[in-house]
Symmetry: C2
């Protein structure tokens, strides 16, 4: 029994009706879906709850009936910047769902680089039997910036690889998970002896452009950077400049200042830059729906929602 | 103080003197090194302890003074087969040293395949932004054949990736580490629903050729095989045959029936076969020396040695 039947709109450029169907199957009857700004405008009047991905917020005005927006992603910087909507509206994001997949992505590339799979692949093409001593993750130092559900899962896997683990976070609430914890005032000390820096931070006014030329040059020249947070955490031009001078061993980038990455971007051709198309933490419809439906039940029963965004912190 | 000064010979085709030097620095004075059969013959008379790698056992007769042979590797099938030396001589192998490196190798390739890094690399070359839903290790089933120090480390890392873990071993002494344990009489049940089969077994008369056509065809057609044990565990021609018919998603092979892999071997060109030159578990001189010196101290003090080979079991 659903205590009330709120009006729900699902917005997504693709697949919105799939989500709507799943929600209806859970007993909610007033569920509509839209995939364009025009469709959204036509359906928003009276909507109480919006489940959305890439919502055209510049084109569509939100109705006064709206009480809750659930994003299908983990990052909500688009919503939070510029006070786009009344503080009476609750904003939630998906949490605890991207940690596993993103940590798998991170360790896929850490091991790919450490074991030098490119060299092994090239040797096989030449039919060349060429043994060499590969490097190890064990005993290397990994720094995880951001210790939310994603950062924590990276830390957990780093433990299984017997790495030294450093962490940086705003709240320090997970400081006991790492060997050495740093605050945002200590970025320089945090990065200076890392072998691997993993960015899992949200984009906020405090984190935007934090990895700039000065901080990059503070890092060891043999270090690797992996960005699975947001592109704007890194000043891309600074990264291009320092890497062109031979600084850093590799950069693995899943997120960019502009996505899709511009065809003319220098990253594409740089031999130590590994580009992936923002796929490390996929929003899987079934799992997003599970999260949303559990949140809907909490909403209907007047319980606190999961993943509520603190607009002051920005995540 | 070393209670006695046994005559020690280090044999290795390359770098024997490096090992000898380390051993001398630990207080042992009677240490010689050889890198050819002729050198070994000239120095073996009166030798009590032999530390060796790729010893030319078909060309060199062992002296009656010999009491202990320490192999620099984990696999000793060459020594054990054919009753090559008196049972009065103790044979030891390196244990507990290859688990970490080999498990890193295994997960490097599991993640490389699962995250489809080849597809991502090819897309970058074409400057193509082409997001797709990658697969996950999480919830997949891994089967680890052999639960010695190497297999146990693979199991430990598999836990960090939230995999289902099955294991097969002779003794069952580590059965509690896996979700489901199988004996060597249960190979068919063991392999039938695995997503990944990892071979970490020693080569014995029981394990030689165990992965033959019948057992391969018992596996799921989407399964991956990783061999970090010994090449002869797999009937290579059977693997070629079933994979040419589209069975198995991939085979990652670090060991082969004949090494170096023959230039004419079909594996080189097969698109889903990943060949590496027996480098997953490197014998690192410093770590081998540490192990040997600890064993030497035990030997000098009449304590049981580490890594003693049971010649009946063959490892």
């Amino acid at each position: 029994m659903i205590p009330s039947q709120p009006n729900i709109l699902v917005y997504a450029p693709e697949g919105a009706e799939i989500y709507a169907d799943w929600i209806r199957k859970s007993g909610y009857s007033s569920v509509h879906s839209a995939s364009t700004a025009d469709e959204a405008r036509a359906l928003l009047d009276g909507t109480e709850i919006l489940l959305c991905w890439k919502f055209p917020m510049d084109e569509v005005e939100l109705p006064s009936s709206l009480k809750w927006i659930q994003s299908m992603g983990a990052g909500v910087n688009d919503w939070v910047s510029g006070e786009r909507f009344s503080t009476d509206i609750t904003l939630t994001r998906i949490v605890d769902q991207f940690g596993g997949p993103i940590a798998e992505y991170v360790f896929a590339y850490l091991l790919y680089l450490t074991k030098d799979i490119p060299r092994l692949t090239a040797a096989q093409k030449r039919r060349s039997w060429d043994p060499f001593l590969t490097d190890f993750l064990s005993k290397k130092t990994i720094g995880v910036a951001g210790l939310g559900s994603i950062g924590k899962e990276v830390v957990r896997k780093a433990r299984a690889f017997d790495m030294q683990v450093k962490g940086l976070s705003v709240t320090g609430s997970s400081a006991d998970l790492v060997d050495h914890h740093f605050t945002p005032a200590e970025w320089n000390s945090f990065v200076q002896d890392l072998d691997y820096l993993i960015l899992t931070l949200p984009l906020t006014s405090q984190t935007e452009g934090v990895l700039n030329r000065d901080l990059l040059l503070t890092m060891k020249s043999t270090a690797c950077v992996v960005n699975v947070g947001r592109g704007q955490l890194i000043v891309e031009q600074d990264l291009v400049d320092v890497m062109r001078k031979g600084h850093l061993r590799a950069a693995v980038l899943d997120v960019f200042e502009n996505e899709p990455l511009l065809d003319s971007h220098p990253f594409w051709d740089m031999p130590n830059v590994y580009i992936t198309p923002h796929l490390s933490g996929p929003s899987i419809p079934q799992e997003v729906c599970q999260f949303f439906i559990e949140n809907l039940q909490r909403y209907s029963n007047g319980l606190p929602l999961m993943g509520v965004v603190d607009r002051t912190l920005g995540y």
